[in-house]
Amino acid sequence: MELVCPAGNLPALKSAVDHGAGAVYIGFRDDTNARHFAGLNFTDRQMEEGIRYAHARGVRVFVAINTYPQAAGWPRWQAAVERAAGLGVDALIAADVGVLDHACERAPDLHRHLSVQGSATSAEAIRFYHRHFDIRRVVLPRVLSLRQLRRVVLDSPVPVEVFGFGSLCVMVEGRCLLSSYVTGQSPNTCGVCSPASAVRWEETPAGRESRLNGVLIDRYGPGEHAAYPTLCKGRFEVRGQTGYAIEQPTSLNTLALLPELAEMGVAAIKIEGRQRSPAYVAQVTRVWRAALDACARDPAGFRPRPDWQAVLQSVSEGAQTTFGAYHRSWQ
């Protein structure tokens, strides 16, 4: 299985390459990708250098152009596709059918992967994208159980990439509009759930408070782990009870499921976190490289090592890691 690692800047890309990534995914410095954060991502010059660095070491580079353009911004998405093709990346990760169609026309030789934001959860949906846009890979949303995943992998006309590690959210991928409710922006169109300009952290006698556009998202007591200030991970008062009304801050960690994922034919494992630093990319890539190699050598005898799990746990959002939907009996 290919290890696909995140990079929000050049040192992170080099870190991923140096620590054993099979591919690195990156984005331009604008709202054409779902990590449109202040100062994050690549200029064309940096991308050029990153691609050169990765290719020289046999590592592939994918570019995410995976937000949904609105009419006024369309030329930016068009240009992004052409810039990516011109830079010689190995694949485009896209979700919007307009972007995919444009890529087919203007850069037919550039491989296309269907982004997680495309939210294709059945072989039928994947077949549609394959037939119309000749996608070479699909990144599945984090909502399928292992049983469902097995079916999709079996029937999919293209290789399947799944998420292996990283922060989880409410996972209405490609369709989530929650944050628009308080900020007027959504990750699908603006590339960010909680724009930094709308976020305020404040230390109060009651604890650390996070606010999004003035709305109290959470209040962390002493010693409580903090989380990203997104609406879906907030604690709210519902019918007199305060708690996580939508989703608890947690991280996905599928290390223990590796033999099963390999056996069912998953082609690639994706690591979340383009917003994280080169230190995170190095720590996580190193662990996953070692685990994938160990699993390939002896799938039956594979057990996640405690020191691997400790590293992954230490960098996780939320106090716990879970198998996400993979181990859910209900859907």
């Binding site: 100062g39 300009s197 409580e224 903090a226 994280r276």
Partner: protein
């Protein structure tokens, strides 16, 4: 005027024009930072800090300093030592002007500076505190993350050594912790 750890009191006492002796370490630190990030400053990458005040608080011991970008140089001063800053936060003493305040332990700042730790990790674990303008904080974090090795051989050497020292210290501490078990 802010009064932090007597720095300002000392400054006031001497009342000499120009650079008071207590400001010399800050001045040198600023010059060092300006040199380290000279290319980034020239390229406008640090413009987000222009006339904005970043306050760094080392807790413990509660030592603090302010950083800003002015006239193409990174300038460091004792708290309240820079003019400007847009924010007058609620609940702060009068005259406490900063746009972004980051509080953390010396060890964690060292781990961040030597790229051994991820800022979000420290933040999740409550080891790093960020108040004020979050966007400014994100610019700062992403600017630092995007920095490649220093161009000057001496700076690169010093940063390498510092990273080695932090790692060695941690290995030593882990060793003693294990042997105590």
């Amino acid at each position: 005027m802010a009064s932090f750890r007597g720095v300002d009191r000392e400054k006031r006492g001497r009342g000499s024009p120009g650079l008071p002796p207590s400001a010399v370490p800050f001045f040198l630190f600023g010059a060092l930072l300006s040199r380290r990030f000279a290319r980034a400053i020239a390229g406008g990458e640090l413009d987000f800090l222009r006339d904005r005040i970043l306050r760094v608080v080392l807790q413990p011991p509660g030592f603090a300093f302010d950083v800003t970008l002015r006239e193409g140089q990174l300038r460091v001063a004792a708290p309240g030592g820079h003019a400007g800053g847009k924010r007058e936060p609620r609940g702060q003493r009068r005259g406490e002007r900063w746009d972004l305040r980051i509080t953390g332990g010396v060890r964690d700042f060292l781990r961040l500076a030597t790229r051994l730790e991820d800022a979000d990790t420290l933040f999740f674990q409550r080891r790093l505190k960020m108040e004020g303008d979050t966007e400014l904080g994100l610019y700062l974090k992403n600017f630092l993350d995007a920095q490649e090795e220093a161009e000057q051989a001496l700076t690169r050497f010093a940063e390498d050594k510092l990273r080695g020292a932090v790692m060695l210290l941690e290995r030593f501490e882990n060793g003693t912790r294990l042997s105590r078990r």
